[in-house]
């Protein structure tokens, strides 16, 4: 598995051990998501046009958390779903086949909406490219925006995030891991040397 993938798509099945330095704790993550929710509302002048789509696995609960915050602020719920990009990845023929994650597009669709993609770590940008292709097969949003919890740099494609929880300058030799209570029992962002596992 290439370094880019291991950081962007943490393996769900493996029992994640806590290793490395903690760069964001639970309250940091909570504050970052609250700010992102406000930024989304500000940029789009309310929640009306917004559809949140999380990218599995960890983008999905993040999208739901942002959605809950928007609901708390605006008193209006935002359609929230998930978008699996497995079959649109550019490395699909290079690796053993893997199972699909759930794609859940809100009932009203995405045509004419502002789709905000939500993911945990933005790294090479290849996942987001795949997500853009996947969106194209589902409908034609008015605009697509990107929200990530962590931007760790090292882009390989001309892609940037509109909403960033934390810019985290890293070296390629490091590994960024996002833990969320839904999967890992805690909220934290960790950074570690790739060797130290």
């Amino acid at each position: 598995m290439s370094p880019a993938q291991s950081a962007e798509q943490p393996e769900l099945a493996q029992p994640l051990q806590r290793s490395g330095r903690e760069v964001l704790d639970a309250s940091d993550i909570s504050r970052a998501l609250t700010r992102i929710a406000h930024e989304i509302l500000e940029r789009n002048r309310g929640a009306d046009p917004v559809v949140l789509l999380g990218i599995p696995t960890r983008g999905v609960p993040l999208a739901q958390r942002v959605s809950a915050r928007i609901q708390a602020v605006e008193g209006q719920s935002v359609p929230t779903g998930s978008l699996d990009v497995t079959m649109y990845r550019d490395d699909i023929g290079l690796k053993p086949p893997r199972g699909l994650e759930h794609t859940d597009i809100p009932a009203d669709g995405i045509d004419g909406k502002v789709v905000v993609l939500v993911d945990d770590v933005l790294f090479s940008g290849r996942t987001i490219r795949a997500a853009l292709d996947a969106l194209g097969d589902i409908g034609r949003p008015r605009a697509v925006q990107l929200a990530v919890l962590v931007d760790r740099g090292h882009r390989e494609l001309p892609i940037r995030a509109d909403y960033v929880g934390k810019n985290l300058p890293t070296s390629l030799a490091e590994r960024v891991t996002v833990h969320l209570t839904e999967f890992d029992g805690e909220d934290a962002v960790l950074i570690a040397d790739k060797g130290a596992k």
Binding site: M87, H102, D137
Partner: protein, 311 residues
């Protein structure tokens, strides 16, 4: 997984992976663009030595929805009718660069031979071989039942009819027992294989006794084209004892569903009003067939060509 030759080769995890993947594939049917890029640039050959409507169309639709290139080959009108052997056909397909071969053959074991002989390197999917197996049919049946009944663990499933000639029955018994269902096979003694002790299921000669305790009943087609012997006295007697009509259907529990792999002999093993009733999921089986075959082709063909990297 490199090939899909027998439903018995699948572990419970593998079977569930295929069914879960099919669940995602099925949601594609509701989208405006029913196409995924997963198999772009791969070639799938439908190698059909025996007549088939739904299986071939279903595999073709599945491969095309995954963006694979599809070549249809049927024995009629090909060099096979000039006497070309299976080996030479396989070598031809290999030379054309087939990544996956979907094989239907009248002889049991033909797909197995294709897969293991070394004549070709692509993945082989058994689409029905003789009276042996038809694993994707079993998978789509299990998928259909799972959508209606939830988990198949402990569910009671009754398979009725011409078990002797049925590849669907064998594949279903193997797969459904892997998934934890309790399978009962009901047939006249002449239409059961000689030794059923190796099959992971119960057998019975009495349909009426089995129906009340059934969550799903699967009627098999009476395969007249394979019957060169008198297996039962008359069609009417068969229908009387083993056919599913409205009165028999009334004995089923309220939630039970009726399946048939098709093509149906209406009025023989299943009456027309049962086939068209709300309990019947026969048309749905066809829809689900495309999803299952997409899942199988995706899992066999999408990854790298290197041998088994996953355990």
């Amino acid at each position: 997984m490199k090939h899909l030759l027998s439903a018995g080769d699948l572990s419970r995890d593998e079977a569930n992976l295929i069914l879960d993947t099919a669940e995602e594939m099925r949601s594609l049917a509701d989208r405006p663009i029913k196409k995924l890029p997963a198999l772009r640039g791969r070639t799938v050959v439908n190698l059909f030595f025996e007549d088939s409507t739904r299986t071939r169309i279903s595999f073709e639709a599945a491969a095309k929805r995954l963006s694979a290139d599809v070549i249809n080959f049927s024995a009629k009108g090909s060099s096979v009718s000039k006497g070309e052997s299976l080996k030479d056909t396989a070598l031809t397909l290999q030379a054309m660069g087939a990544d996956g071969v979907v094989c239907r053959h009248g002889s049991s074991g033909a797909p197995h031979l294709l897969a293991k002989s070394g004549w070709m390197t692509g993945s082989v999917v058994n689409a029905g071989d003789g009276t042996h197996e038809h694993p994707t049919q079993a998978l789509l049946d299990a998928f259909t039942m799972r959508r209606h009944l939830g988990s198949l663990d402990g569910r009671r499933i009754t398979i009725v009819g011409d078990v002797l000639h049925s590849r669907v029955a064998r594949s279903n018994v193997l797969l459904l027992s892997t998934l934890g269902a309790e399978v009962t096979v009901v047939a006249p003694p002449t239409l059961l294989p000689v030794d059923m002790t190796s099959w992971p299921c119960a057998t019975s000669y009495d349909l009426d006794g089995a129906l009340a305790k059934t969550d799903a009943v699967m009627m098999l087609r009476v395969q007249r084209e394979r019957m060169n012997d008198a297996f039962f006295p008359s069609a009417r007697e068969y229908t009387r004892r083993y056919g599913l009509d409205r009165y028999r259907m009334a004995q089923l529990p309220d939630e039970a569903i009726v399946l048939h792999p098709g093509p149906m002999n209406r009025g023989m093993e299943i009456s027309a009003d049962v086939a068209d009733s709300t309990r019947s999921v026969i048309v749905e089986q066809v829809t689900n067939g495309v999803a299952i075959r997409m899942a199988v082709l995706y899992l066999l063909l999408s990854g790298s060509n290197e041998e088994e990297q996953t355990a």
